[in-house]
Symmetry: C2
Subunit: 327 residues, 2 copies
């Protein structure tokens, strides 16, 4: 069934109020779950909401926690998220990074002891909407092997880079594994092979069979040794700057809580819009692999989905919607 | 034959003097070519030196140019490299980013109209040696298709991330294509297949045959659509911040000159060395794919090669060495 954005957000808000979220915090978190759904990222929108509620009930996410500034030096601040809601902490941190960048040209907030921020792209769009370039990244629980290893030792550590643009912001939001476990499961349920190789089977052969990858737990880092290196170094950056938990420590703790995140903003009087539009035009100027399917820039698809869901409502699984209504 | 580091550097310095480089600039550039060779990156060290000399002679690289500060705001500076030697401009830019970070916690130098910086990792090691986290990236001429396109429209835009560490800095230096054209050629000459798929053949099938990829010009971005997006957004960032040439403009100009580069540094009183060492230990703690071949962290291999070449001299191709001696 399709649910209008306003109804979805109202339901999320109602449930969060019931969980004793403050008015402001409930509205902010409900808005992010609704926005993620509107943009087509259902896995971190409506489909994830019940899991978030469970985490709050179990105390892994602390509804009343407020982030505190642990240290301030120049255009960098170190924050402690106190295990509060990840979306709330991340929004406040990115807001502050925007303010620091508007003051200093560039600014950074390093956040430890926070929780899953749902869709990382949220904070890229936020920075760009505030007129800043935004770069942010998070660590996660270990979910893929490092290059050369067989067992999961790296997170898929999403990296987000956003650049403001009048015709629609450019927002890259990518995790370091070729496919998330959610995507592997989706493909497995449909009984379909992956579009490109997504990991190794139990014998060590590269495969596009999602079940073989889930069995071996050997998901593929993007670009083999390269994505492995990038995921590793993002975790090192996060740990070295925040002083918070690394993927190693998060994994040892058993649950995916107490994450580390970094938010960097740059502010410029202008972002050379004409030159950027030239890059987009150039990327679209060649012959496409499939006729009628042009090259897309990061964020272009999101914007198209947003327009579609604004007009037609957000597609929601009946059972999930029922479970939320009954909360 | 193996050449001691000091002899290699002396030869480079002699040739650059002859090309009317100032004493300081000749020593700096010769040092970088020698260091890159020492670290095993011969493609951007001794093997590249004759090409650099050619570029200087042809005026694509301006030996006497000095970078100028075009704009200053807070902890960001915009520089114009005036088409000077890329290694010289990049070293000065990273030095300034280090100084800005030591003043403000974080700093950025955006450099336009510069030239090829040879090995990007050079500036990561430089930042880490100066006690800073360094992040830098460059655009290049178009050398791979965007995801969904058939013709080269993206550069392989290297990204470097370095974190200081007492036991050896962590330095990631990765281009956005799975293999460079240099690597494809190396494999082609040896008649060997690539270790992993590196692009598409003329029929659009994924292949590990280097000749098939050079024929189709369809090199693979790391992680398929993901590396394509990351390469695109790095070029957008570079252009939006520096106001300089994008990959589109560099490609249109015909030669690979007038590049754009960004240097970001972060400075912290400490980099949580114990926690970082824990990440390294964790990544090495699983069962390796090949017994006796442990997981390596980015930079570990470089350091091992450096030690080897310090002891035994730098392996240099006889003909290349002869051609340099005759310059």
């Amino acid at each position: 069934m399709n649910i209008p954005y306003a109804d979805l957000k109202a339901e999320f808000t109602r449930v969060l109020h019931k969980l004793s979220f403050s008015e402001y915090k409930a509205a902010l978190c409900a808005g992010i779950f609704a926005d993620n759904s509107l943009d087509g990222v259902y896995s971190h929108g409506v489909n994830r909401f019940p899991v978030f509620v469970k985490y709050v009930r179990e105390g892994l996410v602390q509804a009343h926690a407020e982030p505190v500034v642990a240290e301030q030096s120049g255009a960098i601040e170190k924050w402690d998220g106190q295990y509060g809601p990840g979306m709330y902490n991340a929004t406040l941190a990115m807001n502050r990074a925007v303010a620091l960048a508007k003051e200093n040209g560039i600014g950074c907030v390093a956040l430890k002891n926070t929780n899953h921020w749902m869709r990382g792209g949220t904070y890229g769009w936020q920075a760009a909407n505030s007129g800043c370039i935004g770069i942010c990244f998070s660590n996660t629980i270990a979910n893929m092997p490092a290059w050369g290893g067989k067992e999961p030792r790296l997170g898929n550590n999403p990296l987000i880079i956003a650049v403001p643009r009048q015709g629609g912001h450019i927002v890259l939001d990518m995790a370091m594994s070729q496919y998330s476990y959610g995507k592997l499961q989706e493909n497995s349920l449909r009984g379909s092979a992956l579009k490109v190789p997504g990991g190794y089977d139990i014998t060590g052969a590269l495969t596009d069979d999602p079940d073989a990858i889930m069995a071996s737990k050997r998901a593929l880092p993007i670009g083999f040794w390269k994505g492995s290196g990038l995921s590793f170094v993002l975790d090192v950056l996060l740990t070295a700057i925040t002083g918070g938990n690394s993927t190693a420590r998060i994994t040892a703790s058993g649950g995916e809580a107490g994450l580390s995140q970094v938010f960097i903003c740059l502010h410029r009087p202008e972002y050379e819009q004409a030159l950027v539009d030239e890059i987009i035009a150039y990327s679209k100027s060649g012959e496409p692999v499939t006729a009628g399917e042009p090259v897309l820039y990061p964020g272009e698809n999101t914007l198209a989905t947003r327009r579609r869901n604004e007009a037609a409502g957000i597609p929601v699984d009946d059972r999930i919607w029922k479970s939320i209504r009954e909360m």
